[in-house]
C-alpha cells in the first residue's frame, strides 16, 4: 500500500468548473464555478455546503465520473480518469448503490476482487469489515433486504476494503443511527492516525467540525470560505470555564472577581448529559443483556487491518495534534486532573494569574463527542444559508 506523504498534495484543482447543459447545449446549471482546491496528504478535509452547492459534483469530478468543463484537476498527481489512481481511493457515495441480489460478504468479495486483492486477504478483510460495521450476523442475507442504515454500513465497508490512502466520504453519517455515526467518526480519526487522507462531504455541520482539519464551504458552486476548523470557528470574544459543580456562593465570588477586571458572567448553566451518551449507555446495556436484534448490531472496533499498530496508534494521534500549526481554539477546557474548586479560591486565583487562553495540549478522541449544549459556532454557515441569528433558515436562499 502506498501511503500518501503527509502534506503532499492529493487533490489539486485550479479554476475547476462544471456546467450541465441541455439538449440545445444551453447551460442548465453551473454546479461548480472556478474553484481552487488543495487536499493534502494525511488530513481530513471537509466539503461543507447546503444541498446543491456543488459538493457531490466536485467529488464526481475527482472520481472521474464527470469531466470538468473548465479548469485543471489532478488526483495523486494524475488525471482523475486514470484507472491506476483508483487503486488508492475508497469511495462512499451519498447513497449506497449496491447490487441488491448480493450478500454483504459477496459484495465485499466482489469489490475486493476489483482491487486485485488475493482471496485469503479478501476473505479476512471482509470478515473484519463486517464485524466492524456490525453486519457479521447478516453476512449471508441479500443486501436488497437491508434497511437504509444497514446499506450505509455495507457501503462504508466496501469503501474500506482496499485500505485506501485517500478516502472520499459523501454524507457518511446519513441514514446511520447514533452508534453508526459515532463509529464513522471514530474510524475517521483512526484512519487519520494512520496517515490516510480523507475527503468528507457533509451538510451536517457537527460531523465536519468534529473530525475535519481543514474545510471549504461551498455555495452556488463557489468557495465562500476556507481554512482550518479553528481558523473558521475561532471566537476571541468570550471564554468558557468548565469545572465541577459549584454552589451559588462560589459563583458570586467568581462574579466579584470578574467584575474587578471589568467582566461579567453572561450565563451560568448546569450541563445536561448528552443525548448521544445516554443512547450509547442504553444500547450497551441491552447488548450486555444479549437482547436479540435482527438488523445490524452495534458493530465492533475498527477493522484490524485499518487500525494503526497498537504501539503507534496513540502516539500518532499525539504527534498529529502536536504537529498542528496555526491558531488554537480560544476555549479553555479544564482537565480532570485540575484541582477541584474547594471554595478556597485557588482555582480562581490560578486562572487570574494566567489570563491568556491555554492552548489544547492534544486532540483527544473524547473531544469529538458532540455535546448536548452544543457550543458550535454556526454563524458562518447560518449567514451562508440565510438564517437569521437564532431564527429559522430562509428557504428562498
Amino acid at each position: 500500500m502506498v501511503m500518501s506523504e503527509r502534506g503532499a498534495p492529493i487533490v489539486e484543482a485550479r479554476g475547476l468548473s462544471r456546467a450541465f447543459r441541455d439538449f440545445w447545449m444551453r447551460t442548465r446549471a453551473l454546479a461548480v464555478d472556478k474553484i481552487d482546491l488543495d487536499i493534502r496528504g494525511g488530513e481530513v478535509f471537509g466539503l461543507l455546503g447546503p444541498n446543491g452547492s456543488g459538493k457531490s459534483t466536485t467529488i464526481k469530478m475527482i472520481l472521474g465520473l464527470l469531466k470538468p468543463t473548465a479548469g485543471r484537476l489532478s488526483v495523486l498527481g494524475r488525471p482523475p480518469s486514470d484507472v491506476a489512481v483508483k487503486r488508492h481511493i475508497g469511495f462512499l457515495p451519498e447513497e449506497s448503490y449496491l447490487y441488491r441480489y448480493l450478500t454483504p460478504i459477496e459484495t465485499l468479495d466482489y469489490y475486493g476482487r476489483l482491487f486485485g486483492i488475493g482471496r485469503a486477504i479478501r476473505r479476512r478483510r471482509s470478515e473484519q469489515l463486517l464485524e466492524m460495521v456490525g453486519l457479521a450476523g447478516v453476512a449471508h442475507r441479500p443486501v436488497g433486504e437491508f434497511s437504509k442504515g444497514m446499506m450505509r454500513r455495507i457501503g462504508l465497508a466496501q469503501a474500506l476494503v482496499n485500505d485506501p490512502d485517500f478516502l472520499i466520504l459523501d454524507e457518511p453519517t446519513s441514514g446511520l443511527d447514533p452508534i453508526g455515526t459515532r463509529q464513522v467518526k471514530d474510524l475517521i480519526v483512526d484512519l487519520r492516525a494512520r496517515g490516510k487522507t480523507i475527503l468528507l462531504s457533509s451538510h451536517l455541520l457537527g460531523d465536519v467540525q468534529d473530525v475535519c482539519d481543514r474545510m471549504v464551504m461551498l455555495y452556488g458552486g463557489r468557495i465562500r470560505a476556507s481554512g482550518t476548523v479553528d481558523e473558521l470557528l475561532q471566537d476571541t470574544e468570550s471564554t468558557i470555564i468548565r469545572t465541577g459543580r459549584i454552589d451559588q456562593g462560589t459563583i458570586q465570588r467568581i462574579e466579584e472577581v470578574l467584575r474587578s477586571s471589568g467582566q461579567i458572567i453572561e450565563q451560568v448553566d448546569s450541563p445536561r448529559q448528552p443525548l448521544e451518551g445516554l443512547f450509547m449507555d442504553i444500547v450497551e446495556k441491552a447488548r450486555l443483556e444479549r437482547v436479540q436484534t435482527s438488523g445490524a448490531t452495534t458493530g465492533g472496533e475498527t477493522a484490524e487491518f485499518l487500525q494503526a499498530e497498537p504501539a503507534q496508534g496513540a502516539d500518532l494521534v499525539e504527534q498529529l495534534a502536536a504537529a498542528e500549526d496555526g491558531p488554537q481554539a480560544a476555549k479553555v477546557v479544564m482537565q480532570d486532573d485540575v484541582p477541584k474548586d474547594d471554595g478556597s479560591g485557588t482555582v480562581l486565583e490560578s486562572l487570574m494569574k494566567d489570563s491568556v487562553p491555554t492552548p489544547i495540549p492534544a486532540r483527544k478522541r473524547e473531544a469529538i463527542k458532540p455535546t448536548a449544549d452544543s457550543d458550535v459556532d454556526d454563524s458562518v454557515i447560518d449567514k451562508l444559508m440565510g438564517k437569521k441569528p437564532g431564527g429559522e433558515s430562509d428557504d428562498s436562499a
Partner: protein, 702 residues
C-alpha cells in the same frame, strides 16, 4: 427444526472434508455397482448365447433340440437353461431342429435379465462404460463444489413428483419431473464450475462472476433459464412416435436445438441489456468506476458473463438433446421392413456427418460477357438503337446482369427433348473426391429438383449415370421441390478424385411404382423418345445439389454445431451489451430484438429482393412517385439489412445436423469471425461510448 435451519446444517456438513470423501466413495461404489452389473449381465448373455448357439447348431443340435422340446430343459457345462415346453414346441421341430435358433436362444435367456436393467443400456456395453465415467465425474463435481444438498433435494423432489405421476399412471409424464430436476441440477453445477473458473482477481473475471450471480438471482434471466430447463424434458411428448424413426429424430433435433437457441438468445439479449442499463440507471457504475476497473474490462466482463451463461444453457440443453437422440437410437427396435429401412435412414442420413461437394459451375470471362451482350443488342429489337452507338452505362449493367443470370441458370437447367437449345441431359463435374475414393466411402447424391409447376404432388422420372456413358445409368422417380438422393459407388471416382455425373431429363415418362432406383438402364434412347406425359425443363438451385460422403461422427458434429450456435449467441450478447451503454433498457431491448429478428430473416429478405426485382414502370403521377419513394426506401433498408446481417442468418448449423451434413471448419471459422469481428466490434463501440459518456448526472437544483 425449521427447514432453513436443517438446510444450513446440512450445508455445513457437506463442506466437511470427511463428508465429501465418504460421499465420493459411496458414489463410486453405486456407479460401479450399477453399470458394472449391467455390463456383467450383457457379458453373461453373450457367453450363454454363444454356448447355446453352438449347442443348437452344432453336431448335437438335434439332441439338445429334442430335450428342449420334450422337457423344456437342457444342461450345458453344468449350467441349466429352461423354457416352457409348449413355447419350445412352437419353435422346435419334432426332430429337434429349428429354423429360428436365435429366437430359441432369446427365450431361454430372457429370464436372466432382471427387470430393473434398462434394455437399451444392455444393447450397448460401451455406452454403459461411458455413462459410468460421466456419472462418476459429474457426481464428484457435485460433491466437491458443495452442491450435494441442493442436487439431492432436487432429485428427491423430482422423484416424489414422478412417483405421484406413476401412481396415477402418468405414462410418458412419469419421467418428466426427474428429468427437469436433473437439468436444473446440471445447470447449477455448470454455473458453479464457471464461478470457480472465474474466481481470479482480474477485474473482468470479477464482473463476469457477479453477472452469473445476477442471472441466477434475478427474475428476468431466471425466467428464460427455468423455461428452457422445464421445456426440454417436455419436448419428447410433442413427438409423433408412430412416424419413421429418422423423421422423429430429425424433428426432435430441430425442436430441441431450435428452442434452446431461441431461449438462450432471448435470455442473453435481455440479460446483456438489463445488466449494463441497470448498472448505469441504478448508479452501480459509480461504485465500479471508482475502483481500478477499466471501462473496457467492465464491458468485456459483462460480455463474457453473458456468453458463458448462454453457453451453459446451450450445453445443458444440447447434452439433454444429444442424450435423448442416443436413447431413441439405441432403444428403437424395428419390427417391420419399413421400420428397418427407417432405422437405416436414421443411421446413414441423420446420425452421420457427411461432407458435401458441389459440381463445378463455370464463370464467364470478360470477353465472353461482352460478346454475348453484343449478340443481345443485335437480337433484341429493344436495343436496336445501340447497334451502332455506345451502350449507356445503366443499360450495359442491365444487360450484363441478364447475361450472367442466363449463363448461371443454364448450367443448372436441363431442357426437354423438344427444346432446341441442347440435349435433354447435363453433365456435372465434381472434384476433390480423393479421400472418398481411397477410403471407399459410399457417396450420396442429394438434390432437389424444380420444374413445370413445381407441384409437390407430381411424380416424374429422372435418369442418372456416372461418366460419359449413358448406357449404364439408373432410373428413379423424383417429386418436384422435395429432397431426393441416390447412392453412387466410390469406384466411379477417377484416380485424380474427379467424378462426372450426368442427369437426364425423363419427365415425359411416368416412373414405375415405388421409390427404388432401377438399373442399369439405357438412358439416351429413353431421353430421346416420346413418353406419356408432357415434359418440362428441370432445374435446381446451386446449393441444393451436392455429393456427400461420411467424414465424421454425429457426436463430434453435434458438438461443433453447438459451438457455432454459441458463437452466434456471442454476437448477440456483444450487441446487447454495447447497445445498453447508450440506450435505456426498454429502447435497448427493442433495438436488439429487432436486430436479432432482422438478422434471422435476412436470407429470406435477400431471396425476396432477388425474386421480386425492382419492377414497375417509371412513375408518372404524384401517387406513383409516392409509391416509388416508399418502395425505394423499403428496398434500401431491406438491402442494407441483407448486406449487413445475411451472414448471421445463413449460418444455420441446426439444418446441417438435421440433414446429417458435416459442420466444416469453414462454418466454425465463419462463426468465430462473427464472434470476434462483429462481437468484438460491438464491444469496442460500447467501450468508446462508455469512455465518452458522463456516467454521473447532475443531482442538484437548476
Amino acid at each position: 427444526m425449521k427447514l432453513s435451519e436443517l438446510r444450513s446444517r446440512l450445508d455445513t456438513l457437506q463442506r466437511q472434508r470427511w463428508c465429501r470423501i465418504v460421499a465420493t466413495v459411496l458414489l463410486l461404489a453405486l456407479a460401479g455397482g450399477f453399470f458394472g452389473r449391467i455390463v456383467s449381465i450383457r457379458v453373461n448373455w453373450d457367453t450363454d448365447s454363444a454356448v447355446l448357439a453352438t449347442a443348437l447348431t452344432g453336431d448335437e443340435a438335434t439332441t439338445y433340440g429334442i430335450l428342449l422340446r420334450n422337457e423344456g430343459r437342457i444342461v450345458i457345462d453344468g449350467e441349466v437353461f429352461e423354457a416352457p415346453t409348449d413355447v419350445m414346441q412352437t419353435y422346435l421341430e419334432e426332430d429337434g431342429t429349428t429354423g429360428e435358433p436365435q429366437r430359441v436362444i432369446f427365450i431361454l435367456l430372457q429370464d436372466s435379465i432382471p427387470d430393473w436393467a434398462p434394455k437399451w443400456l444392455l444393447l450397448d456395453t460401451s455406452l454403459s462404460w461411458k455413462l459410468m465415467v460421466i456419472t462418476s465425474v459429474i457426481g464428484i463435481a457435485i460433491i466437491w463444489t458443495g452442491l450435494l444438498v441442493s442436487v439431492v433435494t432436487l432429485i428427491f423432489l423430482g422423484a416424489v413428483f414422478s412417483g405421484i405421476f406413476a401412481l396415477f399412471d402418468g405414462g410418458q409424464w412419469i419421467g418428466v419431473p426427474v428429468a427437469i430436476c436433473t437439468l436444473l441440477s446440471a445447470y447449477l453445477l455448470a454455473v458453479r464450475i464457471l464461478q470457480l473458473l472465474l474466481s481470479g482477481s482480474m477485474g473482468w473475471s470479477a464482473v463476469a462472476h457477479t453477472l452469473l450471480w445476477e442471472a441466477s438471482r434475478t427474475r428476468l434471466s431466471l425466467a428464460f433459464v427455468v423455461t428452457l430447463l422445464i421445456t426440454m424434458p417436455l419436448l419428447p411428448l410433442t413427438l409423433t412416435l408412430d412416424a419413421p424413426i429418422d423423421q422423429v429424430v430429425q424433428a426432435y433435433i430441430a425442436r430441441s436445438l431450435g428452442l434452446a437457441f431461441l431461449l438462450s438468445a432471448f435470455m442473453m439479449l435481455m440479460l446483456g441489456c438489463s445488466s449494463v442499463c441497470f448498472d448505469i440507471r441504478d448508479r452501480h457504475i459509480w461504485h465500479l468506476v471508482s475502483k481500478p476497473l477499466g471501462r473496457f474490462n467492465y464491458l468485456f466482463g459483462k460480455w463474457l458473463g453473458v456468453i458463458l451463461l448462454g453457453g451453459v444453457m446451450l450445453a445443458v440443453a444440447g447434452s439433454w438433446s444429444f442424450g435423448y437422440v442416443q436413447y431413441l437410437r439405441v432403444s428403437y427396435l424395428p419390427r417391420t421392413t419399413a421400420e428397418y429401412l427407417a432405422q437405416q435412414d436414421l443411421l446413414e442420413d441423420v446420425l452421420v456427418a457427411r461432407t458435401s461437394k458441389r459440381p463445378i459451375y463455370l464463370d464467364m470471362s470478360g470477353k465472353e460477357v461482352r460478346a454475348r451482350i453484343d449478340e443481345l443488342v443485335l437480337e433484341d429489337p429493344a436495343y436496336q438503337e445501340y447497334v451502332d452507338n455506345d451502350l449507356p452505362l445503366a443499360t450495359f449493367r442491365v444487360l450484363r446482369k441478364r447475361v450472367f443470370d442466363d449463363f448461371d441458370i443454364d448450367q443448372r437447367r436441363i431442357d426437354t427433348l423438344f427444346d432446341q437449345t441442347g440435349k435433354p441431359w447435363k453433365k456435372l463435374h465434381f472434384e476433390g473426391l480423393q479421400e472418398a475414393r481411397e477410403l471407399g466411402l459410399p457417396m450420396r447424391l442429394s438434390f432437389k429438383i424444380y420444374g413445370g409447376s413445381s407441384d409437390e404432388h407430381d411424380r416424374r422420372l429422372i435418369g442418372i449415370a456416372t461418366g460419359e456413358d449413358l448406357g449404364e445409368g439408373v432410373l428413379g422417380p423424383f417429386i418436384p421441390t422435395m429432397p431426393q438422393h441416390v447412392d453412387i459407388a466410390p469406384s466411379a471416382i477417377a484416380e485424380d478424385g474427379t467424378l462426372d455425373v450426368t442427369l437426364v431429363n425423363l419427365t415425359q415418362h411416368t416412373p414405375p411404382a415405388g421409390n427404388d432406383w432401377r438399373g442399369p438402364a439405357e438412358l439416351e434412347p429413353l431421353a430421346m423418345t416420346m413418353g406419356d406425359r408432357a415434359p418440362f425443363a428441370i432445374f435446381w438451385l446451386a446449393d441444393e445439389l451436392e455429393l456427400g460422403y461420411p467424414q465424421g461422427t454425429f457426436g463430434s458434429n453435434f458438438f461443433w454445431g453447438l459451438v457455432v450456435l454459441w458463437l452466434k449467441l456471442a454476437v448477440l450478447a456483444a450487441f446487447a451489451c454495447a447497445v445498453a451503454t447508450t440506450l435505456s433498457f426498454p429502447v435497448a431491448c427493442l433495438v436488439v430484438f429487432a436486430a436479432y429478428a432482422a438478422a434471422s430473416i435476412a436470407p429470406w429478405i435477400g431471396m425476396s429482393l432477388m425474386l421480386y426485382g425492382s419492377g414497375g414502370p417509371s412513375p408518372e403521377s404524384a401517387g406513383e412517385y409516392i409509391q416509388w419513394f416508399l418502395q425505394a426506401t423499403v428496398r434500401t433498408v431491406a438491402s442494407s439489412v441483407v448486406y449487413l446481417l445475411r451472414g448471421f442468418g445463413e449460418l444455420q448449423p441446426i439444418g446441417q445436423l438435421i440433414e446429417g451434413k458435416l459442420i466444416t471448419w469453414a462454418w466454425i471459422r465463419e462463426g468465430l469471425f462473427m464472434a470476434v469481428v462483429w462481437g468484438g466490434g460491438a464491444i469496442l463501440f460500447g467501450w468508446f461510448v462508455l469512455l465518452r459518456r458522463q456516467l454521473a448526472i447532475y443531482s442538484g437544483e437548476e
